[in-house]
């Protein structure tokens, strides 16, 4: 697992209802392992606060209306503030307040948590890192010997294939679709399960925002592609249910 000068440490952590993969490069492998341990602790902390699968979590209690926001942990305020921004950026196609059963920031919270994890790695002096949680990928730097990370986009119908690959140095790649876990996305306009995209990918500087926009793109399709087109720094790649594809200008379809 080591090259001549830089050590790459890989780790998988079960947290947030998925498996989060870490790949961290540093001149000092022990330092990387220590940084990953800190990042994992942060993910577990955030999961305990934000999970809606845990009935007693602060987020579950906020959702149920038994914990007022001003008494909730600051992470919840921060996530919900970002959610309000994402509602605007997605032109309403991402809307945690339109979910059945109360406010549900899950479509942004996982990306945000992974972003916090990569921030822990950066603060710990890691030169390059990838943090991949069930398809939401946060990136720092570039792997040794390369100028960028290569992130494959899972093909929506062929589990053994990629639809495309993205090269990125820092930032985020988020993909939403129905293939990995079954249809689980809700159209905020109807409150019903909906999906107009087979695969919806958003790339940009923030994984929290990219995650929310990918969720929006999966249920909104082309109108959301237009919304992303108007955003600085973000691009999107859509595979529609009929297999046709579309993307923002930053992505050239050959």
């Amino acid at each position: 697992m080591t090259t001549e000068v830089l050590a790459t440490v890989r780790h998988h952590e079960e947290v947030m209802g998925t498996v989060v993969s870490f790949e961290v490069t540093n001149a000092d492998g022990a330092r990387s392992r220590d940084a990953i341990a800190r990042a994992c602790r942060r993910l577990h902390e955030l999961d305990a606060v934000l999970s809606l699968w845990i009935p007693e979590s602060p987020m579950s209690r906020v959702r149920a209306g038994v914990l007022p926001l001003d008494a909730a942990p600051p992470e919840i305020t921060e996530v919900l503030t970002l959610c309000r921004g994402a509602v605007a950026l997605s032109e309403g196609w991402f809307d945690p307040w339109a979910m059945p059963g109360g406010v549900d920031p899950t479509g942004l919270a996982k990306g945000w948590a992974l972003e916090q994890a990569i921030a822990v790695l950066a603060e710990s002096g890691c030169e390059a890192a990838m943090c991949n949680g069930g398809g939401d990928v946060a990136l720092l730097g570039a792997p040794p010997g390369s100028t960028s990370w290569r992130i494959g986009i899972q093909h929506p119908w062929r589990r053994d294939a990629l639809a495309a690959a993205i090269e990125a140095t820092a930032g985020a790649v988020a993909t939403s679709g129905s293939y990995e876990r079954g249809a689980h996305l809700i159209d905020p306009r109807t409150g019903e399960p909906a999906l107009v995209a087979a695969s919806a990918t958003v790339v940009g500087p923030s994984l929290a925002i990219a995650d929310a926009l990918a969720t929006a793109l999966a249920v909104g399709g082309d109108p959301v592609l237009d919304a992303v087109r108007r955003l600085d720094g973000y691009d999107a790649y859509l595979i529609r249910l009929d297999g046709s594809e579309a993307s923002t200008e930053g992505i050239h379809l050959a």
Partner: protein, 145 residues
């Protein structure tokens, strides 16, 4: 940061490998350009002189993924990957077993075509593919290929 990309034109069979022909590239505001054909990392992590010319094998660590665990053994001759196969595939569920049986041979073909595990991660990934590539990369690292 601006994304630039080429979409894969290959029939998505070997997309883990051939798919790299079609690269969505992200660069800091640079002029868009088009990547054509499979590309390799610009800078090899080791120099050719460090790699023995004979046939050698290495097994990557057992990677856990959402539905089980697997490890990948890779055989190389010089810089060329001559074989790759999965050892210690364990899956928890029926679903995952049939999935793994489909995925693993495909990934094997892709790797032999690409000659290198060129994807660092997968967005929207099956856990199987992720674990496979992680273990393979570790095995290649061991061999300094």
């Amino acid at each position: 940061m601006k994304l630039r990309a080429v979409k894969l034109r290959a029939a998505l069979m070997g997309s883990t490998a051939a798919g790299f022909a079609a690269v969505l590239a992200l660069h800091g505001g640079a002029t868009p350009s088009v990547a054509v054909g499979p590309t390799r990392s610009p800078t090899p992590t080791t120099t050719p002189s460090q790699v023995p010319s004979g046939t050698r094998s290495a097994t990557g660590p057992i990677e856990q993924y959402g539905y089980g665990k697997l490890a990948v053994t890779v055989t190389v001759k010089g810089h060329a990957i001559t074989d790759v196969h999965v050892v210690g595939l364990q899956t928890a569920e029926q679903y995952s077993q049939s999935l793994a049986q489909q995925v693993v041979p495909m990934l094997r073909n892709e790797v032999l075509t690409a000659q290198s595990a060129q994807v660092n991660g997968i967005s929207g990934a099956t856990y199987t593919a992720q674990a496979y590539l992680t273990s393979l990369q570790a095995a290649l690292d061991t061999l300094h290929v």
